[in-house]
Symmetry: C3
Subunit: 271 residues, 3 copies
């Protein structure tokens, strides 16, 4: 049972680990006070920020990055993910476990990619009253609900089974899957990273294909290479990026800027 | 005695906690080297950043955010706050304790809101010579004075009473209090957060009033709602924000941008 | 032997300390997943970010800042530094030790200033196969090679001697030294910090000279002062900055903006 995986792994960690992913930015104290509250419940926690620079309400990018990042952390980690445009409305607040990892988040699609990778994901809705949590503010459930629950889970003071009733996660369609043909795949740009690399949803391309593959985006055709150094300075190409997704890149430049591509821009691969 | 509260709470923490708030940004190594120095004095410290994105010399925003954030951390925490336009001039460097919390900061108004919330705040000026600290650089007391003192306090190697002579904090008027009438209050914008929400100094509004209250700012009149979801997309309104202050917001937009409001802009509430 | 200094110091630290310096920014999960991987190898590590805001491929600024920052951390610290334009090409991946500090980085000049300050620096190339590390991705050696090696070094599970064969570091000329005369020195701007202060490579100026020294940059002549408060608001001058380098500054302004100076701009001091 996947929550048993997480439960046992958590107990074996020398120190609890809590990751954070939000759209709060780092300019205001929101992330800091979430950590303060989590420390109150779990005084020995180590915090690692995945990112807080998701654009406001950017559920697509958040779901994508959480899905790429979580498995690089030790089994037993608690992932506190709060991108929550529906705060204060009827959306559910949940805890979900799979593959040795535990997620505390709103049920709004944020776990869509995690769920795709962990079909055995099990979720429970947070029963605040049962957990003795005070009524949260209307606007900052990250601090008032998600952070203390993450802290208690990380500390082991609340077992997954005591969080609340088991539920099925809601459906979402934030991060589409590519359409795959025999020697072709059609996907799209999901996010641009800090370097302007266009990260697509095109994963799982056969290695044998990559040597001859071409990529079409916004009227351009570029070749697939092994790494940035295989391109000339300023040349546009495609690489299999570090998370296994095809990326459109410009060596020592910015593909996002040069191509004017954005999340949703179609990208086609043929080989 | 409030420093006894902090002293006892600190001793009970499984691990020392040190928060940091500065205007140094995260692009340069200034914050990192402060943590390095604090680790030298307190090798088991957990650090939590409150924010480092205060605009340079932004004492008003810094005093406001420190005052909102500190109490969300466990009792026993040491708060290292350095927004220090007067570095190298005659301003005093101090340690202050109240309510289970300890603050290491310049005496320049940075603790103004903390002091308003903790009337029993007691302060001591840092006696560097007595503490055996080397002469600090002229420009980086965060690293040379405040960080090592914060580290020693967090580690328990220097008790509050040994920091230096007790003093009265200087007066400051960075974060004004609202003017309150029978069914009205007049305040101002203090800061804009990352989302463009205009956070005001209007706190403590009676809950019964909020259902009928209207808010006037820059010629506009908006209603007070419970949360963002109660507004239409793009609609401007006011909410009681997560720190108890009235905020002028635009749902899935930016009130700061749409209204052109800035810190100091007057905001009136009637009910 | 300098690696013995580091080895012994590491063993004496109550908790392992790992610093990070990259050009990855904090908007994407790259830094977070490096920490996740390092935690997998060293579950009790404390992480401190030096900076992740080096401009992409900014080896000069990275080498400069790493050289200024490392020694402020406790002896025994592991510094994980990844600015790696040559990722996936023939550049070597190394571990180097000196002065109680251990560095895990590409051999591309990133350690140039460290090496200048620590002439006894010894380096070994990372033997991935010997260490049992899986084949890394082509584009993210920070996560696949440098982070796990840093984690193992910090945990003490791999001694420096077992990293791989000893080598001489390659030559580089990223951060030039000033030209020094009897009563003059000619240097250049290396980086601009967040405040717009122009940090130069002019260090080691005699204290007695500073009272009468003048500084010439881009056609302007300014005086050297003790600290910002010695200048009028908006006045341009020079100070010995917190890392011992001469800096051209504007009190409560930005010298970078006001002067239009950039990295490489010549700066002359006469006294």
């Amino acid at each position: 049972m996947d929550d048993a995986d997480w439960t046992q792994s958590r107990a074996r960690l020398p120190r609890p680990v809590v990751t954070l992913l939000t759209d709060f930015g780092l300019s205001d104290p929101f992330v800091g006070v979430m950590k303060g509250v989590a420390l109150g419940e779990c005084p020995t926690a180590t915090f690692v920020d995945i990112t807080h620079d998701i654009e406001p309400q950017g559920l697509r990018a958040a779901a994508f990055w959480l899905g790429q990042a979580y498995a690089w952390f030790p089994a037993g980690t608690v992932h506190l993910a709060v991108v929550d445009p529906g705060v204060g409305t009827a959306r559910r607040a949940i805890v979900a476990c799979a593959g040795g990892h535990c997620f505390v988040a709103p049920d709004n699609g944020l776990l869509e990619v995690v769920r795709r990778r962990e079909p055995a994901l099990r979720a429970r809705v947070i029963d605040s009253a049962k957990l003795g949590l005070p009524v949260p503010s209307r606007t900052f459930h990250g601090r008032d609900l998600f952070a203390p629950v993450a802290g208690r889970l990380a500390a082991g003071t609340v077992p997954f089974d005591d969080v609340g009733p088991e539920i099925e996660l809601g459906d979402s369609a934030l991060v589409p899957e590519p359409r795959r043909g025999e020697r072709t795949a059609e996907g799209q740009v999901v996010v641009a990273d800090r370097f302007g690399n266009l990260v697509t949803n095109l994963d799982g391309l056969p290695a044998s294909a990559l040597a001859t593959a071409t990529v079409r985006v916004l009227g351009r055709t570029v070749r697939v290479v092994g790494t940035y150094g295989d391109l000339a300075r300023g040349e546009c190409g495609a690489v299999v990026g570090s998370f296994g997704q095809l990326e459109v890149v410009v060596r020592e430049g910015s593909a996002a800027r040069d191509l004017g591509a954005k999340p949703g821009t179609p990208v086609l691969v043929d080989w």
